[in-house]
C-alpha cells in the first residue's frame, strides 16, 4: 500500500489535484490511520501558516475608485503621447538646424548671387524680440584682410533670400513671453525693413559675455559680414546676433562662433567648424564652466548650460545655451509645459 507523500497532502488540501486523485487519496486516508494523522498535521500546519501570514497585513486598505485609477491611466497615456510628439519635434529641430547648416554650406555661391540682387532683413520675430527689449547691443568689429569682411561698416538689415525660405515652426521660450523662430528662415512681411534697420544700427557694449573661447579669435562685426555672409553664418534663426568670432585656419578649416542674445540677456553660442576643433573647444568650454561652478557648489547651483552637437563628416555644429531655453526650444511647444 502506497502512503501519501507530504507534498501530495498539501496539494490535496490546497485543492490542486484532479477529482480522481482526490478520490484515490480519500479512499487511502479512510484505511490508513498514519496517513490520516499526517493529513491532520498538514492541515494544522497549513492553517497556521495562513494565520501567521494574516498578521502581515498593511493595515486597512482603501482602494482608490476605479474611475480615479482609469483617469490617472488616461492622463499618463496622454502625457506619454505628448512626449513622443515632443521627442519628434526635438529631432526636427536638430534636423532643421543641420539641414540649414548643410544647405548653407552647399549654396554659398547661390546665396551670394541672390544677395547681390536683394536687400536683407532680419526675420520679423527677431525684431520683436529686440524691440521689446530696449537694451542695446554692440557689434564689435576687427580689421581683417579678408575681402569679405572688410566692407565699410554700415547699418545693414539681414534678410534671407526669399527663394530659400523654409516653413516656420514657432516655439515658446521658457518664460513664454516671446516666440522664437527655430526653423531655418522666417519670411519677412512687407514693410518691416525700417524696423530691422533700427535694430542693427544700434551700437553699445554687449549686455552679457559669453565667456572666452580658447585660442586666437578675431571679432567680426555683424555689419562687417554683411551682406554676403548671413546665409552661411551658423546660428539659431530668429535670434539677434550680437557677436561673431572667427578663428582663422586653412581653407575651410576656420571655426566660426556666433553669439546670439535671448530676450532676457542670456546667450546662445553656435560654433561651426572642423569636428576635431569644435569638439575640443566645447570640451574646454565645459571644463571651464565646471571649474567656475565649483566655488558656487555650496549654493547647489545646478549646471545651467547645455550643448547640442551635430556632426556631418568632418564638420561639426555645436549650439550652447541655457539648458532651460534650449530645452524649451525643443520640448515646450504649443504653450503646454511639462516637467522634463
Amino acid at each position: 500500500m502506497r502512503h501519501i507523500p507530504d507534498e501530495e497532502l498539501h496539494a490535496y488540501l490546497d485543492q490542486a489535484l484532479s477529482r480522481s486523485q482526490c478520490v484515490e487519496i480519500e479512499s487511502h486516508l479512510a484505511d490508513c490511520p498514519g496517513c490520516s494523522a499526517l493529513r491532520d498535521d498538514t492541515a494544522a500546519l497549513r492553517d497556521r501558516t495562513t494565520a501567521l501570514l494574516a498578521r502581515l497585513g498593511p493595515g486597512p486598505i482603501v482602494p482608490p475608485s476605479f474611475s480615479t485609477l482609469r483617469d490617472r491611466y488616461e492622463a499618463e497615456r496622454r502625457w506619454r503621447r505628448q512626449w513622443t510628439v515632443r521627442a519628434g519635434w526635438a529631432a526636427s529641430l536638430i534636423l532643421a538646424a543641420g539641414l540649414g547648416w548643410k544647405m548653407n554650406q552647399r549654396v554659398q555661391a547661390e546665396v551670394a548671387r541672390l544677395q547681390a540682387d536683394a536687400p536683407f532683413a532680419v526675420a520679423p520675430v527677431a525684431i520683436r524680440l529686440l524691440r521689446s527689449d530696449s537694451r542695446s547691443v554692440t557689434l564689435p568689429t576687427a580689421p581683417t584682410s579678408k575681402t569679405l569682411l572688410s566692407r565699410p561698416r554700415q547699418a545693414v538689415a539681414l534678410r534671407e533670400p526669399t527663394s530659400t525660405r523654409l516653413p516656420v515652426a514657432a516655439f515658446q521660450v521658457a518664460d513664454e513671453s516671446a516666440e522664437v523662430m527655430v526653423a531655418s528662415y522666417a519670411p519677412a512681411p512687407e514693410g518691416t525693413d525700417q524696423a530691422s534697420q533700427e535694430v542693427f544700427s544700434v551700437e553699445s557694449q554687449p549686455a552679457v559675455s559669453g565667456g572666452n573661447l580658447q585660442g586666437f579669435w578675431r571679432n567680426v562685426g555683424v555689419d562687417g559680414l554683411e551682406p554676403s555672409t548671413p546665409g552661411q553664418l551658423p546660428r539659431v534663426p530668429g535670434l539677434p546676433v550680437i557677436q561673431v568670432q572667427v578663428q582663422p585656419g586653412e581653407a575651410g578649416a576656420e571655426v566660426t562662433a556666433v553669439d546670439q542674445q535671448l530676450e532676457d540677456g542670456q546667450l546662445i553660442r553656435t560654433i561651426e567648424g572642423p569636428a576635431a576643433k569644435v569638439s575640443s573647444l566645447i570640451a574646454t568650454q565645459e571644463a571651464e564652466d565646471a571649474s567656475n561652478r565649483q566655488p558656487a557648489a555650496a549654493n547647489s547651483n545646478p549646471p545651467d548650460k547645455m550643448t547640442l552637437t551635430l556632426r556631418q563628416g568632418d564638420r561639426m555644429l555645436a549650439v550652447t545655451g541655457p539648458s532651460k531655453v534650449l530645452g524649451s526650444l525643443m520640448i515646450s511647444r504649443g504653450g503646454v509645459r511639462r516637467r522634463y
Binding site: 498539501h10 498538514t42 500546519l45 501558516t49 501567521l52 486598505i61 476605479f66
Partner: protein, 170 residues
C-alpha cells in the same frame, strides 16, 4: 472589458496590495505599486489578467527590493541567506505583543529562501498551483513540495523565535 477590469480591480486590489506589502514592507509603497500594476493591466489587457497581475506585481516588488538593497534598507528582502533583521530585535517602543508577533512573522518569512517565500506568498495571494508554476518556472509537481517545505520552515522559524523570546523574558 472595462466592466471586467473594474470587477477584477475591486476583487483583487486588496490581495495585490497585501502581496506587495509582504515583499516591500511599506503600506503606502505597496498601494502605489498595486496601482501601477493595475494601470499596466489597462494598457496590456492580457488574456489571463489575474495571473498576469501577480507576475507584474512580483517583478515590481523585485525591482523595489533591489532599490531597497541599494538603499541598505529592508534587509528582509535580501536573498537566500537567513539574515538578522532589524525587526528581529524589536525596539523599545515595540512593546505591544501584537507588534512583536508581527515582527517575528516578518523575520520568519525573511528567513525563508527566496524561492520558498515567493511560492508561499503567491499561494497566499490566492494563486493556483499552475499559476504559481508558470510564474516561478517551477514544475507543477514541485509547487506542492516547495509549499510543504516553505510552510514548515515558516512555522519552525516562528516557533524558534517565540521560544527564544520566552527564554529571554524568563
Amino acid at each position: 472589458m472595462a466592466d471586467e477590469l473594474e470587477e477584477l480591480y475591486r476583487t483583487t486590489y486588496p490581495t495585490v496590495v497585501r502581496f506587495l506589502y509582504r515583499r516591500v514592507w511599506d503600506a503606502d509603497r505597496a498601494q502605489d505599486l498595486a496601482q501601477e500594476v493595475f494601470m499596466r493591466l489597462m494598457a496590456h489587457r492580457p488574456e489571463k489578467p489575474r495571473a498576469w497581475l501577480f507576475a507584474v506585481a512580483a517583478n515590481l516588488a523585485r525591482d523595489e527590493a533591489r532599490a531597497a538593497v541599494r538603499r541598505k534598507r529592508h534587509l528582509t528582502l535580501l536573498k537566500d541567506d537567513p539574515v538578522t533583521l532589524p525587526s528581529m530585535q524589536p525596539s523599545a517602543e515595540e512593546t505591544v505583543e501584537q507588534d512583536e508577533r508581527r515582527s517575528k512573522v516578518e523575520a520568519a518569512l525573511g528567513a525563508l529562501t527566496k524561492r520558498d517565500r515567493e511560492v508561499l506568498l503567491l499561494w497566499d495571494a490566492g494563486m493556483s498551483y499552475p499559476e504559481i508554476a508558470q510564474q516561478t518556472g517551477l514544475a507543477l509537481g514541485a509547487v506542492g513540495t516547495t509549499l510543504a517545505r516553505a510552510r514548515k520552515r515558516l512555522v519552525d522559524a516562528y516557533d524558534r523565535m517565540e521560544q527564544q523570546s520566552r527564554a529571554a523574558h524568563s
